[in-house]
Structure formats: C-alpha cells, structure tokens
C-alpha cells in the first residue's frame, strides 16, 4: 500500500543527500584535473586509458562538447572557470578567445613546428583535420549520378538538392571549407571569385548544419547524396558500414588544427600543466595518429585504424591561419547575409 511506497521513497530521500554533493570535492582536489574536449568520445576513451596509466597521480575528469558548445561554455564560465584546460578543439575558435587562456609552453613544445603552435603559447595543436566529401554511393546510383570528385563538380545542376554543408559561423569545418575556397579563389588579392563560387554552390545546398560532422552523418544515412564534411567523420561512417565513399576534392581540401589551451584562473593549474605536457608527448601523439590524418609531432606518421589516407596523399589547399583567424568575423558576417536563410541549427 501507500505506506510501503512511502517507505521506499523515504529511503531514497535519505540516501540522496549523499549523492547530491557527491563528487563535489572542489577544495581538496589536489589530484583532480578537469578537461573540456571536442575530440570524439570513442577516441577520447582510448587516449584517456593511456593517460591514466602514464599520469597515475592525476584524477582526470572530462566532458565532451561539440566545438560550438565548448566555446559557449567557456565564455559563460569565464568569470569562474570550471575546467582547467581545453584539449583538442578547433584553433580558429581558440585563436579568437585568447583572453580566456593562460599562455603555457608545455614540455616538448619546442619539438613542434612553429605553424602548429601560438608563438606565445596560448594554444598548441596536436593534430590536423581535413575537409572531405562523404558521398553516399547507393543514393547516387539510384539517382543515376556520377561520384563528384571536385568542388567544381558540386556546382553542377544535377546535384541540386543533394548537398549538405556546415554553417561556417558555428562549425569549424564549415569555416575551414568556406575560408579555404575564398583563399583558393584569391581573396587575398582582392578577388570576388570565391564569393561567386559559393553563390553557385549555394544553389545546390539543401541545408547548412550547425556542426561539421552532421553533413557526413546525414549523407551516410542516404537522406542526401553528398555531405561536405571532414575526413575522419566520413571515414568513420564508411567504417561503420554505410555505403559511402570518402572524397578529397581534386582542387584541394581545407584543413584546420585541433589544439590545447590552459584556462586562465584554472583551479588545478599544476595538474593541468602535467596533462598538457602529456598531451603532446610522443606516446600520446602515436595514439592520436591511429585516428588522425596527421599529428603535429614530426616523425609520427598517421597509422589510421580507419580507412583514411595519410595527409601526404591528400591535396591540401594553401591555408593561412593568420588570415583565417583575423578575418573570421568579417567572412562569417558576409556569408550570413548572403546565405543564412538556409541555415539551421544541427
């Protein structure tokens, strides 16, 4: 009867205060380090297994957010940071949030080429990811369409309504695609050709998603034929058994770095530094290389466990990270005015 039920509930309630504050050991966290990451959850699990072995003195706590969520969370918490460090998120985002970070040159920092780190140590990159199309061969076959091989192919009228792309305002991948196209078409020399190309491309786009992995995901499910996404995600979809092909456009692929930063006002700064040291160590890099097209430590080759070629076999656009970071707001603003009507949050 009800009495029994209330007894059960009462016991639940008596137990719950123990949980309410469980794990909230904020003060005595001498071993604790809190990490926000945008790396995929399954790879992170592998990396942390190694980290826990090699950093026995640390109690690692982590949350995984998408790049945009992570940035929003950092900004919202900036007066009272909850995390100690950021691990593996897009550099174009980090580079615009330097006021939130404490410069730190981790142990082994000197071994990394200068294009993979901020000169003052605000961010240090661990790997590179590359734009790629995730093409659903099953859907193309049904529609009687050939596999697109280049950016130029994507503007052909027969692909109208079959392409999904990320929004450059919210997605690191989206921004690297748009900025690499603009750079390719010579925007630095004052050419408007890049924008004209994007206009033509726009005619074929079904929607702009909020995240860079969504296009690959949607295309692999067969909801559209082509998702402009990035290599790892497209290869992952192929690996999961979807009828897709990973296409690196023949003109070139844009690329972007994923990097680490130490947060200003980190509560466990010393532990965070230990982790950041580990995060660019050779052992860590070797483990990253099983998931990445390229890692930033020279001498560690990509040995991807998924069907992904090493960066040396992919034609890359000439990126200019100084230009892309400095012009992000202007490019995104212009892009938004031109194309925003097809943007949705995803």
């Amino acid at each position: 009867m009800y009495k029994k039920l209330f007894t059960v509930l009462l016991i639940t309630l008596l137990l719950s205060p123990a949980f309410l504050f469980a794990g909230g050991d904020k003060e005595g966290g001498s071993k604790e380090v809190v990490i926000y990451t945008a790396l995929e959850e399954d790879e992170t699990a592998d990396y942390l297994a190694l980290a826990e072995k090699e950093l026995p003195g640390l109690d690692i706590k982590w949350v995984r957010y998408s790049t945009g969520e992570l940035a929003a969370k950092l900004i919202a918490e900036k007066d009272n940071p909850q995390a100690d460090l950021v691990w593996g998120t897009a550099v174009t985002v980090l580079a615009n949030m330097k006021d939130l970070f404490e410069p730190y040159k981790a142990e082994g920092w000197n071994a990394l080429p200068s294009e993979f780190k901020d000169p003052d140590g605000y961010w240090t990159a661990i790997d590179m990811y590359v734009a790629a199309f995730c093409v659903n061969t099953d859907r193309l076959e049904k529609k009687g369409l050939p596999i697109p091989r280049s950016w130029e192919d994507l503007t052909k009228p027969e692909y109208a309504g079959e392409i999904i792309m990320p929004n450059p305002g919210s997605s690191g991948t989206g921004y690297l695609q748009v900025s690499s196209i603009l750079l390719w078409k010579g925007i630095k020399d004052g050419s408007e050709e890049g924008w004209e190309f994007l206009q033509r491309l726009h005619k074929n786009i079904v929607e702009y998603t909020n995240s860079g992995s969504a296009p690959a995901k949607i295309a692999s499910k067969g909801e559209v034929a082509i998702g402009a996404s990035f290599g790892y995600r497209a290869a992952k979809q192929l690996d999961s058994g979807y009828p897709v092909e990973v296409i690196f456009p023949s003109e070139g692929s844009g690329d972007e770095l994923e990097a680490n930063s130490l947060l200003k006002g980190a509560k466990n700064a010393e532990n965070a530094k230990k982790f950041l040291d580990w995060a660019i160590s050779k052992n860590a890099m070797e483990l990253y290389s099983r998931y990445k097209i390229m890692v930033t430590l020279p001498g560690v080759e990509s040995q991807s466990s998924i069907p992904l070629p090493p960066a040396s076999e992919v034609k890359l656009f000439d990126m200019d990270f100084d230009w892309t970071a400095a012009n992000k707001t202007a490019v995104v603003d212009k892009w938004t005015t031109l194309f925003q009507d097809k943007t949705i949050a995803k």
């Binding site: 009800y2 909230g24 995984r64 929003a72 969370k73 909850q82 305002g169 919210s170 067969g222 949050a345």
Partner: protein
Amino acid sequence: MSTTSTGSLKDKRTIIEDKYIVYIIGGLIGLFLIIFLALPVLNILRLSLTEYIPEQHQFTGKLSFSNFTGYFQKPAMVQALLNSLWIALWTTLFTTVLAFIFAYGLTRTTIRWKKSLYYLAMIPLIAPSMLQAMALISLFGSNGLITAGLFNTDWNIYGPNGIIIAEVLYSFPHAMVILYTTLSAVDSRMDEAASSLGASGLTSFFKITIPTSRYGIFSAAALVFNLAITDFGNPIIIGRGYRVLSTEIYLQVIGMQRFDLGTTVAVILMVPSVIAFLLNYYFTKKSASLISSLANPEIPPSRKGKKIFFTAYSWTIAFILLSIVGVIIYKSFVKVWMYNWTPTLAHFNFRIPGGMGVLWTSLWISLTVGVFGAIFTMLNGYVIEKKNPFFAQPLYLLSIIPAAIPGLVMGLGYILIYNTRFLNLDDILYGMPLLIIINVIVSNFTLGTLSSITNMKNIDNSMDEAATSLGAGVTKTFLQVIFPLSRVSFMSNLIYYFMRSMVTVSAVLFLISPDVHLAAVSVINLEKDGKDGSSAAMSTLIMLVVVVVLVIFGLFTRKKKDVVVVE
C-alpha cells in the same frame, strides 16, 4: 515539512496561526521560484538589453536596445518568429482536438481497456525528446523505411509539416493528462441530465461537455502551444532549413557564441508564451467552478456505435504512438538502418564518459526530482487554490511561467547566474546534481502546479470547511483530509516529474559537468557523433528504466482500488 510537528499547539491553535503556516509554506515556495526561476530569467532579460562586444565575449553593462532593433531589421529573423507561431498554432489545434477526443473516450464512454489506453497514450513521456523526429525520419525521411523502402518515393517529411507532426506526437500526452483530469473532475451528471431531457449526443457534447470543460481545454491548449513553441529537439532534427526561434537561440549561443543575440531571441520567444498563459489565466478566472465532489458517478453504458468509434480512434492513436517508439527500439538492434539489417547488440556497448553509469545517475536524480517536485507542487496547489492568501495570484503567475521558458534558455540562465559569485551559490550548486534537480523541478513546475490546482478544485471546499469546523488546523486538515484525497494526483505528479527528468535534454544540456553525466544528454551526444544505433540503444534503455520504475510504482498502487489512476 517544517510545519508537520504542531501537535502540541492543538488547544491554542487559532486561525491566525494557521495563516502563518500558509504564509511560511507559500512564502518558501515563492522564494524558491524567485531564486531559481525569476532571477535567471530576469538576468536573461537584462542581458538582452545590455551592450555586448562579441570580440571580447563581454557584456559592457551599458543599456542598449540595438539587439532588438537589429532583430526586427533582419527579415530572416522575423520569419523565424512567424514560423514559430505557425508551428505552435497548428500543433495546438491538432493536439488539443485529438487529445480531447481521446480523453473523452476514456472518461465518458464505456469502452474497454481504458487503463491500457491511458498508459499507451503516455508513451511519448517516457521517450527522450527528439525521439519523435528521429523516428519520423527513420520512417519518412528521404531514405526512410516507408518512403524509400516501401514506396520508393522522393516525398519526405522534412520541413514545417514534419515539425508539426513531431510536436503533435510529443505534446499529445501532456494535453491528454490535463483533459483527462478535467473531464474526470467536471460533473458528468449534467451530460446525463441533458440527454434525459432529450438532447442528442452531439448537442449535449457541444452545449454541455465542451463548455463545462473549457477551463481544461484552455489549459491544455496553452500548454501545448508552449511545448511546441519552446521545443528545440524536434525542429533541429526534422526542420531542415525551416528556422524557428528555439533553434535560432541554439544557433546564436552555441553556434556563434553570441550571448547577446541568444538572450534577445529568448526574450522574443517568451512573449507569445507568456501571452498564451495570461490568456489561460484570464479564461480560468472567468470560468465558474463546475466541479463538484460528487462529479464521478457511474457512467451509463455507451451506445454501440459510440463504443466502436472511440475504440477504433483510441487504438489508432495508441498504435501510432507505440510505433514511433517501436522504430527506435528496433533500430537499436540492427547494424545499419536501411543498409544492413543484421541483428546486433553492438550498439549497447557505450563508449561515453560515465558509460552505463549514466543510467544510474539519471535514475536517482529523477527519483529525487519526482518526490520533491510532487511535494512542492502539491503544497503549492493547496496554498493557491484552497488557502488563497494575499500573494496567491503572484505565486500562481510564478508557478505557470516555467512552461513559457524554453529549457535551453533556463539552462543558459542558470549558468549565467549560478556560475558567478552571486550569493556564493556556485560552490554548493554549480556542476552539482542538486542544480540539475532544481532546474528540472522548476522547468516542469507549470504542469505539476496546474494539475495540483485542478485536483484541489476537485476536492470540495466543504471538506476543508468541515475539517476546520471540527477543530482541525491547517496542518492536520492537509495531512489527514487533503493529502489522502490527493494521493492519485500526488502520485501522477511524482511519476510525471520522474519521467520528465529521465528524458529532459535541453534544460540540462548546459548543466552536465565532469561529475554529472545524464543518459538523455548522452542520447543527443551519440546522435551528434553519428552513432545512430547507440543513440537509439540508449533511448531504449532509458525507456526500459522508466517502464520498470513505473511497474514498481504500479505494484504499490494496484492493491487499493480507489487509488488507481483510471476508473
């Protein structure tokens, strides 16, 4: 709670003392709502009127209306507002009508299997939000099982129609609960009287049944309107380029890190929501009390045609709701939807922070939410409806506002205020399960309070008066008269809160921390990572946990006939 040990005061008890007890309880609930509802929301309002420098991620503190003027200068943004209204209005119409007919069948006809139908109608409540859209796409997307698999057609469900269908499926049980309670509480003898005076079935339906239950209809409609206009899970998945305000907030804040525009859109979104509830409030006050303590006599046997119609109708609805969930369960056991139907358990091997432990975390948090949510809303309903102190109206208003606040906004409001040094609350709240518990209780305060008020209306004032005139004080009246009469309502609130807490995503998305990972949030993260199968598998496990807990609750309640939810 703090007022339950007043036995020794029996002789000295006066009406004045009772008044203070009511004041203290009502005041504490009010204070709770002010701190955890009004402050975060007002803070959002303040920030929407504050100048923001995007490059520095910094509000300057200067008053500025540029966010709002800027908003109405962008046609795409104005369109999002119109789109939201369009979606919400159609959803309100469809859901209210469909749910009313369903609830009518359960309360006013003698169809069989009522209890099963009632529980089947509740199915969407046990599913993580977004599940409707996920299932609809699996069935009716460009490469859906029915559209591509069965008919090989290019037609698909994306866009506004898809959102409306998903929202109807999502909001159905919410409306059904209110209408069911109303139709159970409204005196059906008036219908009988009308038909014995010669009115036809349809006449008495339109002249008696609908007018007498209009209070519940408006309540349900307002709630559905708000659910539809504030939901963001379904439009995100199925909208495809069709922009609504809730997804716009997400895009601005999460996508672009524009907290100024995000708070602005949040404020604009709150306008229609709050108007809907003010209308509801107005109609409620106008409507006379049509509820009596003797409202539930035996229903006379329904005519055969009526029975056939309501049986067919109810089971069709139940079947649709069941298949939405069924698709997701099925999906969690096949390798690759549409491409490889080999059965597999691989999707249940979760590689996420917290692992399987997220289910346990969700479970105990939700049980705690259930118990405290039910207690708070019941006390609240009692204070507002039965005791009517001078602050009853502001308290009522505070209590119904949560439904007008999108979960995402509430979560955003919480981190914007509880992570600062404000009252030093961050040390005990931020990143803690307690903040999530409070957030879920507050976010769902509306329906809890409304159903509690309806329940209190259902308890004849003569009960209260009789107890008082026999010398019982307010505490004793509550514990020995009101509470026993409200056990059904208490339990259904507890269950409602428990289920909401198990499946809520948007409100707590911002509140998960390295210490607290929740199952429903994992569903979204898995979906975002492209692990559809695992996402479906986690949804399946959440639903399983909810069903198991409900069955346990059911075992306790079944023994006594008068506490069963139906009949």
